[in-house]
Symmetry: C2
Subunit: 373 residues, 2 copies
């Protein structure tokens, strides 16, 4: 079911078939460099759920990342098959068939997984032992996200002690990730949320160490808050993912936020396929070309598209409003659109078209697209 | 990039790996039969953008459909490769590379496409002629949707006359589809929208026939309104797609709407992966497992899940609210979730798992998944 490639290496950008997922390599590489520079002295383990693309993971590793994060066992399998040798699944894995696969992967690479239930520990331990593998176990602590994880403090210690009793599990540390904080609008709100998370994570680590158990890693953070975790003195590993691409939602938070100094590098290149009335044009990219959970795509302003706004989507169409003060759009004209939310948008495409200086430089397979299991 | 199969034929339903896209064959086949019965005496050309699955298209053809609709050239290619011999692309195709492919397809199968711009007609005609193909051309009339299409009346006639001048194009009729009307909440609103669309389509057809040009087909309609088009005396071909599956959005409109007598047959089977606190459980299906443009997934009530509600999604997680009055959900427990919007949800999966009587009866590849071009 993999689809036709939307371009060939060496093609001019104008020859890319629309709609296509395009990465502009100059800002993309600046984003990689900025994060590598800003995280010197702390472990960077970028989240690969954003890009699902081994080529990008290799670029991150080459710039100093210690490994990558994934959310799904099947994502981990795709990256390990592509040669990445250190993968943390930042998620609970409870289905026996998935644990079996995870244990098999742990024989090829360093594989970590989260735990937030005592009842899961013996199964994880016994499957790993039977596979002659060692799985790194991290206790997920709910530091304010209200999703998975045990409460800070004693419940986390109880889990750590259960993990320590399993010879095929290696307790590595705490997973303390505050997802909703990434998207809070005000910088002060984000700072306060991570300050609170830091108190919870610090106290939990102290409790574990007080019980005589080493807690080597405290891992977490995302593109919206990573600087706060970095500077907290609690976290020693950071997991940002979206910084490589950015998206319209994160870009709305950029003002007054030095931690969001990244540039948009990911675009859906869309083509005008109908100009039915003054002030309205239709592009060939709709609900199957973007994820709309975080709002509409934004027309990229630096591409000569002032006065054009993406105002409505249906499955295969996007309706553009075109200001009367500008030239009308022509059939076949192309727009560079910044997705509202990068992660689930990338998941809609088989290829990322990497461009530089007006030319297609590479086609990167999105190997873990659709890796749901 | 195609993913691991989530089940094998003959597996019990409990062995399907989550998350998975599942079709319950009994209601699914009843939906097929209901529509086939209700459209006797009129051409049924179901929209395959909903299912993207040749296996389902073949079942529709076997029950009397005259052909299928697609929205994209690449979708048409997938269905024609699978043996479907009559495909209408219910969309404008303006990019030269896509027109080339369309013309090639038109040598293998009956292929139709929409036109809403005079400037496109000569290119479409010359490419078809060079390919020694004949492409069926339909004029798209905007009957109230405000998306693509020319206004009713003289602009449509001008297009018809341009098409008639191209030997490699065959004018087949009018495409008159009112998309937003499908989702209007009140039955009376839907009826009124289609009554207005019918006036526009009838007048335009009369104008064309008055000019001495045959207008054989008036095609359109969707799952929300098809009965009105069927009974209008104007349309003689219907294009519903979602009726095979239904979704939470269409199901909200079922009350007092005999035209929506279809049953939910499409589910995302999700697994509970964390039960972190009383009243909260987390499933393994989030923004990459459903499209959320039409709202949250609904927990299927007939599956013993009373008191459970899907309240929030992140990329790979769904947060469930669990009523205090019912038994808590257990790790590994499975829920059958009705997607908010079927079409873009199906587009996230490589396989549809078809089940009957608690057993996996078939795995259907979603061949046109990701067919954006």
């Amino acid at each position: 079911m993999a689809q036709r490639r939307p371009a060939r290496v060496g093609d001019p950008v104008d020859a890319i078939e629309t709609p296509a997922l395009v990465v502009d390599l100059d800002p993309f590489e600046r984003n990689l460099a900025t994060m590598a520079q800003a995280t010197q002295g702390i472990r960077l383990r970028p989240h690969a759920k954003s890009h699902k693309c081994p080529e990008i993971a290799r670029m991150q590793m080459a710039r100093g990342a210690v490994g990558i994060c994934c959310q799904k066992t099947d994502e981990a399998a795709a990256f390990i098959a592509a040669g990445i040798r250190d993968v943390l699944v930042t998620n609970e894995v409870v289905a026996p068939a998935k644990i079996e696969r995870l244990a098999t992967l742990a024989r090829e690479a360093t594989v970590g997984v989260l735990v937030d239930a005592l009842s899961c520990v013996p199964l994880l331990g016994s499957v790993a032992a039977r596979a002659s593998a060692v799985i790194d176990a991290y206790v997920e602590v709910d530091v304010g996200a209200g999703r998975c994880g045990v409460p800070p403090g004693p419940p986390a210690l109880a889990l750590v002690e259960a993990i320590a009793r399993e010879p095929a599990l290696r307790f590595r540390g705490l997973h303390a990730y505050h997802g909703p904080a990434q998207h809070l609008r005000a910088p002060a709100e984000r700072r306060a949320a991570i300050a609170s998370a830091a108190r919870d994570a610090r106290a939990t680590r102290a409790l574990i160490e007080g019980a005589g158990i080493a807690c080597d890693i405290v891992t977490g953070a995302g593109t919206g808050t990573w600087q706060h975790e970095r500077d907290s003195g609690v976290w020693n590993e950071l997991q940002p993912g979206s910084y490589v691409f950015m998206d319209a939602d994160y870009l709305r938070n950029v003002a007054d936020a030095p931690e969001l100094r990244f540039e948009p590098s990911l675009f859906v290149l869309a083509g005008v396929m109908s100009t039915p009335a003054p002030g309205r044009a239709i592009v060939d990219a709709g609900l199957k070309a973007f994820s709309f959970d975080s709002g509409l795509p934004q027309v990229h302003a630096r591409r000569g598209s002032a006065g054009v706004e993406y105002v409505k989507a249906s499955d295969e169409h996007g309706v553009l409003s075109v200001a009367a003060t500008r030239a009308p759009l022509a059939l076949g004209e192309r727009l560079w659109l910044v997705p509202g939310h990068c992660d689930p948008t990338v998941n809609l495409y088989d290829y990322i078209v990497a461009v530089r200086d007006g030319t297609v430089a590479a086609l990167w397979p999105v190997e873990a697209r659709g890796a749901l299991g």
